[in-house]
């Protein structure tokens, strides 16, 4: 594996809240344009780690580089180069689809013409031209998630972090959502995704599984299944989580 291709490098990441250790000595790399699945049970420390990588939370110790910037000193440069979509859904409910796009485009410093170009592109891609002036609050959850993802990659980030993006969404919409993820990856965006759905884990290039703040397994889905001698990611997960 060529070192230069790593877009996220984490060495010995530790995050403590008082005496509670949320992230216990994590080390991993994520390659450029890869779809990296970040799995784990509830409370395993996934969200904590993702917040540290996004510069929302400061690590207790460890060496962490995101998009070749340091998480301790260069958080604003990191933020310019990443997109983020959290499980706590974060579009503005009381403004329209178009206004949400325009607002975030503006905050990321896109030019006016670029903002309009991107809005046209995403509305067409999502087949939402007719709903562009609807308030977010009036849309179904699945649509909101797709819009939130589009907003997160609107400024062409190098990496997009997705924290349980498909929670509570029907299977058809989940499928469409993953098509969007593939397309983003195809366009060179690295996708760092956490999920509870093990069928989604199968779609990832590589998967890490966290248990109690540690990473217990990290490989391609194929290799993990071989390693644990089972036929699905679901069984890999159950084997690890039960120990």
């Amino acid at each position: 594996m060529d070192q230069a291709e790593n877009i996220i490098t984490v060495k010995n990441l530790v995050k403590k809240f008082g005496s509670f250790v949320a992230n216990d000595n994590l080390s991993f790399q994520v390659e450029k344009a890869e779809i990296f699945g970040f799995l784990g049970a509830n409370g395993a420390g996934k969200t904590t780690a993702i917040k540290i990588l996004c510069g929302l939370s400061a690590p207790t110790s460890g060496e962490i580089e995101v998009a070749s910037y340091d998480v301790y000193t260069q958080t604003d440069l990191i933020k310019q180069n990443i997109g983020y979509m959290s499980q706590k859904f974060s579009l503005y409910e009381d403004i329209t689809v178009k206004e949400n796009f325009r607002f975030y485009g503006g905050i990321y410093g896109l030019s006016k013409s670029r903002i309009n170009e991107r809005i046209t592109f995403f509305l067409k891609e999502l087949k939402l031209e007719s709903a562009k002036d609807e308030l977010i609050s009036s849309l179904p959850l699945g649509w909101k998630q797709k819009i939130a993802f589009s907003v997160a990659i609107m400024h062409d980030p190098k990496i997009v972090f997705l924290d349980e993006p498909t929670g509570g969404v029907d299977p058809v919409t989940r499928r469409q959502f993953w098509e969007m993820i593939y397309e983003a990856s195809h366009n060179g965006i690295t996708v760092f995704v956490t999920t509870h759905y093990m069928d989604e884990a199968e779609y990832c290039n590589r998967v890490s599984i966290m248990v109690d703040g540690r990473i217990d397994a990290l490989d391609t889905p194929e290799n993990l299944k071989k390693q644990f001698g089972v036929n699905s990611m679901n069984n890999v997960f159950l084997k690890l989580a039960r120990n």
């Binding site: 917040k51 996004c54 510069g55 929302l56 939370s57 400061a58 958080t75 604003d76 440069l77 933020k79 310019q80 990443i82 983020y84 959290s86 706590k88 859904f89 974060s90 579009l91 503005y92 409910e93 009381d94 403004i95 206004e99 325009r102 607002f103 975030y104 503006g106 905050i107 990321y108 410093g109």
Partner: protein, 372 residues
């Protein structure tokens, strides 16, 4: 700068699209202004009197008639029993008892020392004092009439008095409303601006949208400015609106420069909104913001000198008022509107608030955490 404009655009869309917010911002305060200015008055009218007249002479009737003729008093009851009158006072049916003893007229004309007794309900000490003041005025007026009517009977020396002619400057008619209106307006403008901006910020925390903002490269000062400027503009509008109402309905004089007043108000609002935003960077939800804001506002308002002059407060509370922005504006708005004070007269307050504003806004920016 462009980033701030996008923030402002979003805020204004949210404010003006919210159908319940607009009346709250523009109609409620005006209703409050009209009601409170009319209600919050220290002027006493309709003071209820019980007259205990044991003299039943021409003079005692003349005195009673003087009270009946005054716009301040209502003579409710005549009685001969002081005990019965005291019952009225106890039941709150009367505010004052005038006790005229028998022999009143006789003493008056025989140049004896003439006495009448006033019993005043002074549960509210200010009202009690005023009642005494008004009653004494009526009685001394009566006294003068007696003297001039009987100028031939009485020896000259008894009417040689010092003639005091009071002249009330800046509010010659002693109209309490034009004194209260600026004060109440200050409170309304403050409450609207401070609550709206701080609740707005903490609402982003509750909704989770602040996390999405924190993951963008936005600068901390840009975010705070985006939360400050919309409500700062709205509060200044509110002030203009209130002044127009004051001019039209209450004929509030505007002797000083309005430009000066608005200049001062804009600095003042930076302080109050800054305090609100600082509070909301610490608080986690709207409930906490409401209670902390309420605590500070109540203290600030009651100490600001809206009802009682700051100069008559104890020394320590005058010192506390150094950090009370409301006290500065309360004083300045009255000085500018009613006295016509110029920049030179208020520059101490102006520069104090300027320093204050830069401190609280720096605190708010510093305390807002993008990285937790």
């Amino acid at each position: 700068m462009r980033t701030i404009l996008y923030l402002l655009q979003k805020e204004f869309i949210q404010i003006f699209r919210n159908k319940t917010m607009l009346p709250i911002i523009f109609i409620l305060p005006i209703v409050q202004l009209i009601i409170l200015v009319n209600a919050a008055t220290l002027e006493m009218k309709n003071i209820d009197i019980v007259v205990v007249d044991n003299d039943l002479s021409t003079s005692s009737r003349k005195l009673t008639a003087k009270f009946e003729g005054s716009k301040f008093f209502n003579v409710n009851e005549f009685t001969f029993s002081i005990e019965k009158a005291k019952q009225e006072l106890l039941k709150n049916e009367a505010d004052i008892i005038i006790n005229i003893p028998s022999g009143f007229e006789k003493d008056l004309f025989s140049q004896e020392k003439t006495k009448i007794q006033l019993l005043i309900n002074a549960i509210n000490s200010t009202a009690g004092g005023l009642t005494n003041f008004y009653a004494t005025m009526v009685i001394s007026d009566f006294n003068k009439n007696i003297i001039s009517e009987n100028i031939n009977i009485l020896p000259l020396k008894s009417y040689k008095n010092i003639n005091v002619i009071p002249k009330f400057w800046y509010n010659p008619e002693l109209n309490y409303k034009i004194y209260m209106l600026p004060g109440i307006l200050v409170i309304l403008v403050t409450v609207i601006g401070m609550f709206l901006s701080s609740l707005n910020l903490v609402r982003e925390k509750e909704m989770g949208t602040i996390e999405q903002i924190n993951v963008t490269p936005i600068k901390k000062y840009q975010f705070i400015a985006g939360k400050l400027i919309p409500f700062w503009i709205i509060a200044l509008f509110e002030l203009a609106f209130g002044l127009i109402i004051g001019k039209l309905l209450f004929q509030v004089p505007m002797i000083g420069s309005l430009f000066l007043l608005f200049g001062f108000a804009s600095v003042y609002l930076l302080v109050m909104l800054g305090i609100g935003l600082f509070i909301s960077t610490i608080a986690e939800n709207q409930q906490q913001v409401l209670f902390i804001n309420f605590f500070f506002l109540l203290v600030f308002i009651l100490m600001s000198g809206i009802f009682t002059p700051v100069e008559s407060m104890p020394d320590w509370s005058q010192k506390v008022n150094i950090i009370n922005p409301l006290a500065y504006f309360m004083k300045v708005i009255r000085m500018v509107l009613l006295k016509g004070s110029a920049f030179n007269d208020i520059k101490k307050q102006f520069f104090s608030l300027l320093v204050y504003a830069s401190i609280v806004l720096s605190l708010a920016v510093w305390r807002y955490r993008k990285v937790v």
